[in-house]
């Protein structure tokens, strides 16, 4: 009986994976535009590193700056894809008008989120690897001393936190049918500002430091730089990895509770019906 319920839930989770793959296939033009946008964004930021000597008129180790910016740009690509894929799961349903059918189906919300998360991680990896492959044609990226295993571990641990943040942000389109999706953009922009993606967090004003230290992205990006640029050993990363996973699990738990509360509110206030 329990195994049948399990199979049913797995089918439910796969429904979201297959649906999202179909959406990519049907909206391939959008995908291409976003890929070009992300790629040019990563290149533009990384070229700032290449031009540092020319900008300041001083002798600067541009390769170090390029590596610093490139790692930041690529990791942010990956983390933001996870964040958006999960936070937009409600927004997509509103755009297509299918939200009532999905919420009426006998699929638990955790199953809904598992399906969306598995797709988000797979999609994020493929997209980031595609950008990495193209970017390496523009910049010489020497990863010979990098700790790849540690980087993968750090990235997976960071994914857990971003899944949680995505779930928390997904309630915005549920609460605000018209402007919820734009609000998730603002959340992503704030994370980008405070998490030291393109600069050390010490360069931020003092009052932002405590907030920067609350962002999981700060630790993921610092950890990834340690692995890929400094070649830091896996063992020394373990406390950060453990902290990220623990934080991520707490954020996911909070996200699920908040989502459940907001879903109940939306059903009471009649907010599922309206499309954005």
């Amino acid at each position: 009986m329990r195994s049948r319920a399990m199979v049913r839930e797995m089918r439910g989770a796969y429904a979201f994976i297959e649906r999202n793959i179909n959406l990519i296939k049907r909206y391939w033009g959008w995908e291409l535009v976003w890929l070009v946008y992300s790629l040019t964004n990563a290149l533009a930021i990384t070229y700032i590193g290449n031009g540092m000597s020319a900008i300041t008129g001083q002798v600067i180790d541009t390769q170090a700056v390029v590596k610093y910016l490139l790692v930041g740009a690529l990791i942010w690509q990956y983390l933001s894809v996870i964040f958006y894929a999960i936070s937009e799961m409600i927004a997509w349903e509103r755009w297509e008008g299918t939200i009532e059918y999905t919420f009426m189906a006998p699929v638990s919300r955790p199953t809904h989120l598992v399906g969306t998360t598995l797709f988000a991680i797979g999609y994020g990896v493929v997209r980031t690897l595609a950008i990495l492959a193209i970017v390496t044609a523009f910049f010489r990226l020497d990863l010979s001393g990098a700790n790849i295993l540690g980087a993968v571990l750090m990235l997976l641990a960071g994914s857990v936190s971003f899944v949680g943040l995505g779930i928390c942000a997904a309630v915005l389109p549920l609460l605000y049918p018209e402007r919820g999706a734009q609000m998730t953009n603002a959340v992503a922009a704030i994370l980008l500002l405070i998490s030291g993606v393109y600069y050390p967090i010490e360069t931020l004003p003092n009052w932002l430091h405590p907030i920067a230290k609350l962002s999981p992205a700060t630790y993921v990006i610092q950890g990834m730089r340690s692995c890929l640029i400094d070649g830091q050993g896996t063992r020394t990363l373990l406390p950060t990895v453990g902290l990220l996973i623990a934080t991520g699990l707490v954020v996911i738990a909070i996200g699920l509770v908040v989502f459940r509360y907001v879903e109940t509110y939306a059903k009471r206030a009649g907010r599922l019906k309206r499309s954005g």
Binding site: T98, E100, A105, T264, K267, A269, L272
Partner: protein, 283 residues
Amino acid sequence: MCTYALEVERVRKVFTRKERLPRPEGKRSIRIRTKKEEVVALKDIDLQIPKGEAFGVLGPNGSGKSTLIRLASTLLLPDSGTLRIFGHDVEHDTYAVKRLINRVSVDAAFFKKFSPIENLMYAARLYGMPPSEARPKMRAIMKRLGLKESTFRQPMEHMSRGMQQKVAVARGFLTSPILLLLDEPTTGLDPHSKRDVQAFVREIRETHDTTVLLTTHDMEEADRLCDRIAIIDDGKIVALNTPEGLKSLVPAVNGDTTTMEDVFIALTGHTFEDAEAEKEVGA
């Protein structure tokens, strides 16, 4: 086993909406002033639908029909009162309720760039159906509804409104619900498509143990498909009986047979069109 497919006890549903107030004359404030307005969609409704019955809810737009269907679909929560589906409380036993129901609504909501097969497969997976069972069933239902095989794989956005609605009906029946909620399923369809959908609903009732709750403002449709009909107006049930029972309440005029429209006018004091116009003015 519960003998009632749907039990509604003193259910009340109120929606609150914000209305923007005009700026007071002579004041130059940039503050936007709003007031909250309450709209009572359902006023302490009581209803019992026995298992296997085709039950119609007839009323003009804005009378509370869709709110009732949404409450039964677990998409809305009542402000007071209870709804039970086969004994399961809609608010507290949601998962069990969802496994027993499906709904076809007036707006054929689909992923418009997906084909009917892709949309129906998504629905089948959500309801835990294995693809080996879902594929032949979805094809059979769509063919029965008069959809051509060549349309099965074309994007929904290229299909007519009638064809899209037939796919919506196929989605509703695909999961073999024991309570089927039909929310104006034939509104906006051409007469041929309407007949196809109505014939299929009748056929399903004859061959399956399905209870049907149909909301409509098509009086003939309610008369033709339903065992009993509730007439709902302004959030209240004003009459409930068999179609013949309702017609017998109103004497025939000038030797003509009484229609459901005559019944509606006699019981509510206004025509369908008047009731809808009032709602639009108030909206």
